[in-house]
């Protein structure tokens, strides 16, 4: 009995307690940690992951999985950069084209999963490699930066637009723009998922596809919609990445898949939701951001970060699945 109660509490508040504990530990170890600058730094650093993780949340809600989000980030980052540096296109193009690409990737995933009925993990694994290959082929393996040297010896004509860079580097009322965008997205998506019928249909479809179908819900349309949203949010992540760094880095998205998935699964257990939810995902991203930030301060080598991220994911998965199996029993 006592053990059960303890497990319940740990499930409900575990994630939040761990975040708080990590905050406390790091703030004791390093006085700079709790400064305004560092906090905004953490939030800015997690803004990109949060967008990607929101995408993963959508696919998880409909009981799917989208592994292609990382390579979508990579592709959209270099596309946004190329539009400015190679083609000198106006801002509208630079913003819209990546989002369209994200939507198309989502449609492709949905086609494979919903129509061809390939298991989601396998389909998006394949797409992940295809998109990754496309982005490297497109850039011939080079990162894209202002007036870069082209292969024919000439210089690329364009530069990153100042207005574009503002999205990643600017401030609004003292708060970094990407942080504002992230908080806005979290709130809007939360409202969408909780209060609209489309959000309800997504949860119902993920909870029991057959029951949803027999209640007159177009489950295939709902699932397609979720994958398209997943692609679009990953694309937003890619745009933010380019805007923040001011260049189109090759393979920018590859570490983000792991972080996003970890954030979503940490989110499962925030306040005992037991299901993918965007507020939880946000806290999951915060946890990972705080950990990485703190470890940087402690001078941990960057190549050890994957160990930390992997451990967070394993812990989050353990808590989630122990709880789910216990509930089922």
């Amino acid at each position: 009995m006592l053990k059960d109660k303890l497990l319940d509490y740990s499930y409900k508040y575990g994630a939040l307690v761990i975040i708080a504990a990590v905050f406390i530990v790091f703030s004791i170890v390093n006085e700079y940690f709790l400064s305004y600058d560092n906090i905004t730094d953490i939030l800015r650093s997690i803004s990109i992951v949060t967008f990607v993780a929101i995408g993963v949340t959508f696919s998880q809600i409909v009981d799917g999985f989208d592994l292609s989000v990382g390579s979508t980030v990579s592709l959209t980052t270099v596309v946004a950069a190329a539009m400015m540096v190679w083609y000198e296109l106006p801002l509208a193009f630079v913003l819209v084209a990546p989002l369209l690409i994200g939507a198309v990737i989502g449609l492709l995933n949905a086609l494979l999963i919903v129509k061809v009925r390939i298991p989601d993990l396998l389909a998006t694994l394949a797409v992940m490699y295809i998109i990754g290959g496309v982005h490297k082929t497109y850039t011939k393996g080079f990162s894209i930066y202002n007036n870069m040297q082209m292969q024919d010896g000439t210089k690329a004509p364009g530069q990153f637009l100042e207005s574009f860079k503002w999205i990643g580097q600017g401030k609004l009322l003292g708060i970094p723009v990407p942080v504002v965008l992230m908080l806005l997205a979290v709130i809007l998506v939360h409202v969408f998922l909780t209060y609209t019928r489309w959000g309800r249909q997504m949860y119902v479809t993920g909870g029991n596809r057959e029951a949803a179908r027999l209640s007159g819900i177009s489950v295939n349309r709902v699932r397609t919609f979720a994958y398209v949203l997943s692609g679009i949010f990953a694309a937003i992540g890619g745009v933010l990445f380019a805007a923040r760094v001011g260049s189109g880095q090759i393979d920018a998205g590859s570490p983000l898949l792991m972080e996003a998935v970890a954030a979503v699964f940490v989110g499962y257990s925030v306040l005992g939701a037991g299901k993918p939810n965007v507020i939880g995902t946000f806290f999951g991203a915060v946890l990972i951001g705080v950990l990485l930030n703190g470890l940087t301060m402690l001078n941990m080598p960057y190549y050890a970060y994957d160990i930390v991220k992997g451990t967070v994911l394993v812990l989050a998965l353990s808590i989630t699945f122990i709880h789910l199996n216990r509930r089922r029993a």
Binding site: R197, R200, N208, E210, A211, R213, G216, I217, S218, N220
Partner: protein, 508 residues
């Protein structure tokens, strides 16, 4: 019955088994001899499969003994039963076969699994071929993957496997259900041959004409007890049906008489796979059409096909004379159909969601404004349905998994009430529902009929169909084999047509 001395004898005595809330078997005696075919009969839920699961070691009995040739045996797991020479050929052959392995490997599977490290493949193939030849099937290529065989051959493979393992008794659980007539004939020939070799066959089937064709003895079970064991020659189909049903028949659920109006739903030539093979159906306003049939007759598939949940291979569905094109259930809901599916917990309701959310599922569009689900509208709807249907406990926020089966069913029906559904399809709506809630559900169905809805009521519970339906269509092996008016239908006639199978097509 001539008693041969060396024939083995299987005796089950005083077998009892309870599950939480159900006494599945009470002091059942059953006996089978080597060299005979012993049929085990009973309506759904009579306890046949529980008894056979005990015999094959899948369940352990609470009380009672199993003796083989006088020696007492205790089966704690299926392997114990197999070691004692008892084998089972299940209806679901695919669960017992490894589809990617060859026929020979499947036949010799147990030998391979328990053998030493090295396998003599030539010997494996030879012995498998011999086993197949032994049941009169020498032509089958043993190196072919077993998954590619037709069902009938998979069954024979399992019989061959049983023989390789020195089976003394083989349980055949509805083996002919998926077979064509010729295939069934061949199976009977093989059973005949097994009999001559001294193997005892226990034969479970709903097709009574088959039972009387090949059985030596017949045991009838009802409500977890054995009713009788007789020589097949000394009884007949009619007597057996009476024993299966029992004599007690009371009108528990009074029928509400409603004037019957215009035709609402009209289905012609509905076909879906092997389960629905050309069904015609008409439902009029205020009419309750019962579709009676045994488990596996294709009722669930029919209801799903009518609802657009399965693609039609052929046929057309009209509602109010208008041809419907149903590519998914959504289209059926739009058109004015409602389905209460058999698998309630998996398909009818969302167990983890609240009563309120379940009740608003088909109504989300109506309850929403600019996409936002109206909170007030949603809880008003929930409160109204809870009151109307007497859902207990009357809490809109309660997760439906904590409700009783009957109240879950009320939720599954209640979600359709505010839609403009004109025809309701009920698939086994009383399954897992207690008596009190059952009469609530019947009253609700009666009320829907009184409002002029058309009702299709599909069930294997004959008493219930007899009590509620205006007209009864008997379904068997994917076809409607008989239409009966309310006043001419009895359990006996329904069961007769339901178990007659394909040989007795509609007479007159």
């Amino acid at each position: 019955m001539s008693e041969s001395n060396n024939a083995s004898l299987l005796q089950m005595t005083g077998i009892s088994k309870s599950f939480p809330g159900v006494r599945a078997l009470q002091q059942v005696d059953f006996e089978a001899r080597g060299g005979e075919v012993h049929a085990l009969l009973g309506a759904n839920g009579a306890g046949k499969s529980t008894l056979m699961k005990i015999l094959s070691g899948a369940y352990t009995p609470d009380e009672g003994q199993i003796r083989i040739d006088g020696c007492s045996h205790k089966f704690h797991r299926p392997l114990d039963a197999i070691a004692s020479g008892i084998q089972c050929v299940y209806q679901e052959v695919d669960t017992a076969i490894v589809p990617t392995l060859s026929v020979a490997e499947n036949i010799m599977l147990d030998r391979i699994a328990s053998g030493r490290g090295w396998l003599d493949w030539r010997r494996v193939n030879r012995e498998a071929a011999e086993a197949l030849a032994g049941i009169g099937l020498p032509g089958l290529e043993v190196s072919k993957p077993a998954g590619e065989l037709p069902i009938a051959h998979k069954q024979l493979l399992l019989i061959a496997r049983a023989l390789v393992q020195q089976a003394k008794f083989i349980i055949f659980d509805e083996p002919t259900a998926p077979l064509s007539d010729e295939e069934a004939d061949r199976l009977f020939e093989i059973m005949e041959r097994l009999k001559q070799d001294g193997v005892g066959c226990i034969f479970i089937s709903h097709r009574l004409h088959e039972v009387f064709r090949i059985s030596d003895r017949v045991t009838v079970m009802r409500d977890g007890r054995r009713v009788s064991t007789r020589l097949a020659a000394e009884t007949n189909a009619k007597a057996v049906v009476e024993e299966m049903l029992g004599k007690t028949f009371e009108e528990e659920f009074p029928k509400v008489q409603v004037p019957i109006g215009e035709t609402l739903l009209e289905a012609r030539g509905i076909r879906y796979g092997t389960k629905v093979r050309g069904v015609d159906l008409t439902v009029r306003s205020g009419e309750i059409v019962g579709i009676a049939g045994l488990v596996g007759a294709g009722k669930t598939e029919l209801s799903r096909a009518l609802f657009g949940a399965e693609p039609l291979d052929a046929g057309e569905i009209r509602l109010n004379g208008r041809l419907l094109k149903l590519s998914e259930p959504k289209d059926a809901v739009r058109a004015g159909l409602a389905l209460i599916p058999e698998e309630r917990r998996k398909q009818g309701i969302l167990v983890e969601q609240s009563v309120k959310h379940n009740l608003s599922l088909p109504l989300l569009e109506r309850l929403s404004r600019f996409g936002f689900v109206g909170r007030r509208a949603e809880s008003d709807n929930a409160v109204a349905r809870i009151g109307e249907l007497g859902i207990q406990p009357p809490l809109p926020e309660q997760a439906v998994q904590y409700l009783s089966g009957g109240n879950q069913q009320k939720v599954a029906v209640g979600k359709w009430l505010p839609t403009d559904a004109q025809v309701y399809l009920f698939d086994e709506p009383t399954k897992g529902v207690d008596v009190g809630a059952k009469s609530d559900i019947f009253r609700l169905i009666g009320r829907l009929a009184a409002e002029g809805k058309g009702i299709v009521y599909l069930s294997c519970e004959l008493q219930e169909i007899l009590g509620i339906a205006d007209r009864i269509l008997v379904m068997s092996y994917g076809r409607i084999v008989k239409e009966l008016r309310r006043d001419e239908a009895t359990q006996e006639t329904i069961l007769y047509y339901a178990s007659a199978g394909e040989e007795q097509d509609v007479e007159g």
